[in-house]
């Protein structure tokens, strides 16, 4: 949303409402400057706006050229020489601002300091604050005039902005290493206009000492006028005839240019007033973060609670299963103890199936082999010895036949066949014959 623009030039106030620009001019009397400021304050209070930007050029605003290092506004205010020569930078109730430092002819930087001589802007700021609004920026007429010029165009050329109103006339000159401001209150005399004419033509009349300024040409003029320029300015025809008029702007266009000046521009007069840091943004951010964290943590806690309940049920089920298994094992243990008590220790089962073993062995021994000894013990361990008596003895076939009838040889030295002596020794454990 665009801020409301109020203009105070000399003894005249301009403020825009639904009917357009409303102008109020105060007569030439003692304390008129104070009166116009008070009246502007009343207007701002009566019709509050969220943000108001003021072009502030009452009687008694000083515009002084100052040599400075290339520093920011804050650093500028800390310079010892500046504090000494311009004590306004130490004041907390006088508005002041500086233009961006620009290089001068001797390599130094120069700026223009705009400052109030008596407190006035502070009153307007208080009026805005009391009405629930905010005064983020106030610009001197020079800063506002410079804002009307298209930035970047012919930066090396000196340009002028001529402010023409029935009761206030001013000329702001800038560019090409030159900065100046001259304002005239009330109706200008012929002598005043001549002086202004000289100022406008000054840049082209005086040769520049630097190489940069040697390229200076006749600078263009931007005219900001409230009304018909030819009725306000007696030298208007000459200006038109010079061909230097670049643009003629009305108050609307002027206000639009002013609204576009960034508030952190060092020429902001309001920046001189101490203002408390507004913590509302941080509080709002903290509130939003708090709500977000509450919602997020709540969701996580709810999820954890659900998982806790589900895990609880699963753990109970698992514990119940384990307890049931343990109970079953205890019952098994009791029964096994009883069964073991029934049969004496060492009373193994009686060996069976030895008849079938001998029948199977007889079938497995081929004609080429004669059994010379056989021992089968209680647990089935056997040892048989045979002698090869035929030329067609097939060791592997015999081994398989023995295995099929239950006489499987041990893997470790269970099958020893000495070909030279024709002696076969088989050791192993008898088991059920393979089907």
């Amino acid at each position: 949303m665009k801020p409301r623009i109020a203009i105070l030039l000399g003894r005249t106030i301009w403020i825009r409402n639904v009917k357009g620009w409303q102008r109020k001019t105060f007569g030439d009397c003692e304390g008129v400057s104070r009166l116009s400021i008070v009246r502007l304050g009343e207007i701002l209070s009566a019709d509050p706006a969220e943000r108001t930007v003021i072009v502030f050029e009452p009687e008694g605003i000083a515009h002084q050229t100052v040599e400075t290092p290339r520093v920011s506004r804050a650093e500028f205010a800390t310079l010892e020489r500046v504090r000494k020569e311009h004590p306004v930078v130490l004041s907390e109730n006088l508005g002041w601002g500086i233009e961006y430092p620009e290089p001068g002819s001797s390599g130094t930087y120069w700026t223009l300091i705009h400052s109030e001589m008596t407190p006035g802007l502070a009153h307007l700021r208080d009026a805005c604050n009391c009405a629930g609004g905010h005064l983020p920026a106030a610009w001197s007429a020079y800063t506002a005039a410079v804002a009307c010029a298209t930035p970047g165009s012919a930066a090396l050329k000196t340009r002028s902005v001529l402010l023409l109103t029935p009761d206030f006339t001013a000329i702001a000159t800038f560019g090409g290493g030159k900065r100046s401001f001259k304002g005239l209150l009330g109706s200008a005399s012929e002598r005043d206009w001549k002086a202004l004419s000289v100022l406008i033509g000054d840049s082209e009349a005086r040769p520049s000492p630097t190489m940069v300024e040697t390229g200076l040409k006749r600078g263009s003029i931007i005219v900001v006028a409230d009304g018909e320029p030819e009725q306000i300015c007696p030298i208007w025809k000459d200006l038109r005839a010079s061909g230097r008029i670049e643009a003629i702007m009305n108050l609307d266009e002027f206000a639009t240019s002013v609204a576009q000046i960034p508030w952190n521009h060092p020429a902001n007069l309001v920046e001189a007033f101490p203002r408390p840091r507004n913590l509302d943004r941080f509080l709002a951010a903290a509130a939003i973060a708090g709500v977000s964290a509450t919602v997020a943590l709540g969701a996580i806690s709810f999820g954890n609670g659900e998982q806790l309940r589900a895990g609880d049920a699963a753990d109970h089920a698992q514990a119940a299963n384990l307890e049931l298994h343990l109970k079953q094992l205890n019952a098994n243990q009791r029964e096994m103890d009883r069964l073991r008590a029934e049969i004496p220790d060492g009373s193994g089962s009686l060996p069976v199936g030895r008849y079938e073993a001998l029948i199977g062995l007889a079938a497995a021994i081929p004609d080429a082999l004669t059994l010379t000894s056989l021992t089968i013990r209680r647990e089935g361990e056997f040892e048989l010895e045979a002698r090869v008596v035929g030329a067609d003895f097939d060791p592997e076939g015999t081994r398989q036949s023995l295995l099929r009838c239950g006489f499987g040889a041990d893997t470790d030295r269970g099958w020893v066949y000495d070909v030279s002596s024709g002696r076969l020794l088989v050791r192993g454990k008898y088991s059920e014959p393979l089907p």
Binding site: E92, E271, A272, P274, R275, P276, R277, N278, L279, D280, L283, A284, A286, A287, A289, G290, V291, A293, T294, L297, G298, S301, N304, L308, G311, D315, A319, L322, E323, L326, L329, N330, N332, Q333, E335, M336, L339, R340, E342, I343, P344, S347, S349, L350, P351, V352, G353, R354, Y355, I359, T370, L371, T372, S373, L374, T375, I376, R377, R378, V389
Partner: protein
Amino acid sequence: MIKGVKYSKRLSVASAACVGAACAMALLHQHVASKRFEHTRRAADLAGALSKQIASKSDFEDSNLNALRARVNRFRGQLGPEDAWERLVRQFGEGWTAEVGPRVSKGGYSFQNGSFVLPSPMASDWPRIVEAIKAAEHLPGVGIAKIEMKTSGKLEPRSIDIVRIVVAIHSRRIDSIP
């Protein structure tokens, strides 16, 4: 120029309330999380203790119980009469030399080993030997604990040096039968 601070009381109260709510929720979250952790730890401890007890009783699984039951049933089914040795001697006949071993009584059962040796065996006796083993295995309470046969000589027909059959007898003592 910034000097001091300003803030909306309403916003500050709301902000404090929101931050307080967030802190309370954080505490709740912490509480739930610690409760969940504690519960998980307790459940794991309980499950671990039960699993340990179960592991220590792994010898009593159903498979082992069933194997023991089968063994007991087999033992019961293999029991013979108290005069099994006498019956066996009669079964082998006079061609065998019987050597009775000591009888051991345990609980309501008696266990006895004995051996039968065929004197001067010949190769032609082999079918008789096999039949004797078959007959012995058919007697209740009798098992063949060892068969031993040895021959000697280099040429056919080889001479049989020894044939020895060791028998094991399991029987129920009469005085233990109710």
